[in-house]
C-alpha cells in the first residue's frame, strides 16, 4: 500500500483503471448469476414470500414435493438418462469408426464422403423436424426413446473432431503396433482410442449437456410420459399443471437443471476446457 502514495501518476491511473474493471466485472457477474440464484431462492419459499422478496421468509421444501407428485418427473429423469447415455454410446461407436476411416485410410470417394458429413455440420437434423417425423412414423418409432436419439447418433461434429485428433497422433505408434501383429481394428482399440481419451471426454461432456438440454425434436416426436425427457416434461408442467404458481415453476426448473448444474460445479474446469477443446476446430 505504501507504493500507492509514491506511485507515478501513470501507475495510479492503471490502478484506478483496474479497480473500475474489477467493479464492472463483478456487476456483470452478479447480473449473470442473479436470475438463476433467484430461481433457486424462489423454489424454497412460499408463493407470497417469493413475489414480495421477503428475505427473512422461512425455507420450505413443499414446492419440490408438489412438483414431484404433480407430474411424473421420476419417469422424465429416467427417460433423459437413458436418452443421453444411448446417444453418447451411439455417437462414440459410429464416430470413432468413421473418424478412423477418414484419418488413416485412403479410399475411393473419401472426399465426397467427407463433404456429405460436413453437410450435417450446418444443416442439423434439428431443423428437419417435419420429414424426420414422417420417417419415424414409417418406422413406427413415434413416442419412443430411440426415435429421439436416432437422428443424433451420427454426429458430423463428433466425426470431425475425432478425425482431427486421430490425424494428430504419431503414425509411428500405429506402425509399431502393426509390426507387433496388431490388426486394423485392434490398433483402433489399443492405440487410437486410448490416446484420444481427452478428446473423447471433452466430446462426451458437450454431447451429454447438449442432449440433456435438447427440446424441439423430443417435443415433436413424443406425445406421452413414456418417452418424454425432462425438458419436454418441464414445458408441459410449467405450461399447464403448475397453474401460474411461480414457486412451483421454479422448483420444477431447479429439478431439471440440478444434475447438470451440480456436475458443472464439481467439474467446472473440465467443463470449460471441454467446451474450449470442442469449439476449436
Amino acid at each position: 500500500m505504501t507504493t500507492l502514495t509514491t506511485a507515478l501518476p501513470g501507475e495510479r491511473r492503471v490502478r484506478v483503471g483496474r479497480l473500475l474493471e474489477t467493479v464492472g466485472a463483478w456487476l456483470l457477474g452478479i447480473l449473470w448469476i442473479g436470475p438463476l440464484l433467484y430461481a433457486l431462492w424462489a423454489s424454497v419459499h412460499h408463493r407470497d414470500a417469493a413475489t414480495s422478496f421477503d428475505l427473512t421468509a422461512p425455507l420450505t421444501l413443499d414446492n419440490f414435493v408438489s412438483v414431484w407428485n404433480g407430474a411424473p418427473f421420476d419417469r422424465y429423469y429416467l427417460n433423459t438418462v437413458l436418452l443421453v447415455t444411448g446417444i453418447l454410446a451411439g455417437q462414440l461407436v459410429l464416430g470413432v469408426l468413421a473418424a478412423y476411416a477418414f484419418a488413416r485410410f485412403r479410399f475411393v470417394g473419401s472426399n465426397i464422403a467427407f463433404a456429405l458429413v460436413l453437410v450435417q455440420l450446418m444443416i442439423a437434423p434439428d431443423i428437419l423436424i417435419s420429414e424426420n417425423y414422417n420417417t419415424m412414423a414409417q418406422l413406427q418409432l413415434v413416442d419412443t426413446i430411440p426415435a429421439i436419439g436416432l437422428p443424433y447418433i451420427a454426429s458430423a461434429f463428433g466425426i470431425f473432431l475425432l478425425r482431427q485428433t486421430f490425424k494428430s497422433l504419431p503414425i509411428e505408434l500405429d506402425e509399431a503396433a502393426e509390426i507387433e501383429g496388431c490388426g486394423r481394428l485392434g490398433r483402433l482399440w489399443r492405440v487410437y482410442v486410448p490416446l484420444a481419451r481427452p478428446t473423447l471426454v471433452a466430446y462426451g461432456l458437450v454431447s451429454v449437456s447438449t442432449h440433456w438440454n435438447n427440446f424441439l425434436w423430443p417435443l415433436v416426436i413424443t406425445n406421452s410420459e413414456n418417452a418424454r425427457p425432462l425438458t419436454v416434461g418441464l414445458a408441459v408442467y410449467n405450461g399447464t399443471e403448475s397453474g401460474i404458481d411461480w414457486t412451483l415453476m421454479s422448483a420444477a426448473t431447479v429439478l431439471v437443471v440440478a444434475p447438470l448444474l451440480i456436475a458443472f460445479l464439481i467439474f467446472q474446469r473440465q467443463f470449460v476446457q471441454s467446451f474450449m477443446r470442442a469449439g476449436i476446430r
Partner: protein, 307 residues
Amino acid sequence: MTDVLAAPTGTEAPRSEPPPRRRRGLGDQAFAWALLTPAFVVLIAFTHYPIVRSAMASAQERGGEIGTGQYERLVNDPVFWQVLKNNIWFALGTVPTSMALAILMAVWVNNKLKGQAFLRLAYFTPTILPMVAVASIWLFFYSPGIGPIDQLLSAVGLPTRNWLGDPDTVLPALMVMMIWKQAGFFMIFYLAGLQNMSPELEEASTLEGASRWYHFRRVTFPLLMPTTLFVFVVAVTDAFKIIDHLFIMTGGGPNNASNLLLYYIYDTAFSFFDPSYAGALTMALVVILGLAAILQFVVLERRVHYR
C-alpha cells in the same frame, strides 16, 4: 448407398502421391467403407434424405401436381416475410452485443481480477442451462405486475408494461434473454484465443508505454479475428435454430411479433398439417444455413492464410 457414393470417383485416374501406409490393396478400401457404413446409414436417413424429401414435398401443389405453387405462396405469404424479418432483427439484436460482451468477459476472466473463479462460473453458468428452463425463469421476470422487472420499475416510479404481450417490446425482451444465455458460451472461444496468445506481446506494449485499450485495439483484437469470425457464424446460425423459448414464453405472438422461421415451420407442419408448405419453408431455412456454411468456409480459408 455406399456403392453409389463411391462410384463417381472410381473412374478417376489413380492418384500419384504415395499412400500414407503400406498398401493393402482393396482390403483397405472395403475396410474403410465398412467403418463408414453405420454412420452413413444414419447420416443419410436423418439428414440428407429429409433435405431431399423437403425439396420434393415443396414441389407438390394442391391436388398432387408438380410445380412451383408452394414457392409462389411463400413469396406472397406476409407471415413468412414477418418471421424472416423477425429472425433478421433477432440476429442483429443478439449477435453483436453477445460477441462484445463475450470479449469483455474473456478479457476480464483472463486478467486475473479478484474473484476470477467466481466470475468465470457466473458468466458460463447460463450456457449449461436448457433454453426451456431459462425461458421459464425469464417468463416470470417479465410477468406484468408481479415480475421483478416491473416491481423494480414501479419502485423507482417508472411506468410498467406487459413486456411479452406488447408487439413493440416482445422481441427486444427475448433478445435480452438470449444475450444473457449465450454470451458466456462465446466467452469460452475468446478465452481460448487469449490463452493461445503470447504474453510477450502485452509486455512489449507495456514497455512501449501503450495503454491497455490501445494494446487491445491494435494487437489483441486483430489477433482474435479468426475467433470473431468463427463465433459470428455460430451465433448467426443459433439465431435461426434456437426457438425453444417461444414455446414457453410467447407462442410466436402477439400477432406473430415474436414468431421465428423454425417456429413457423413447426406450426405449419404440426398445427396446420401442411407438409408441402413446411417443405418450402424448410428449404428457405436450408438456404439460409447453407449461406452461413459458405461464409464459414471462406472464413476457414482466410484463417489458413492468416497463419
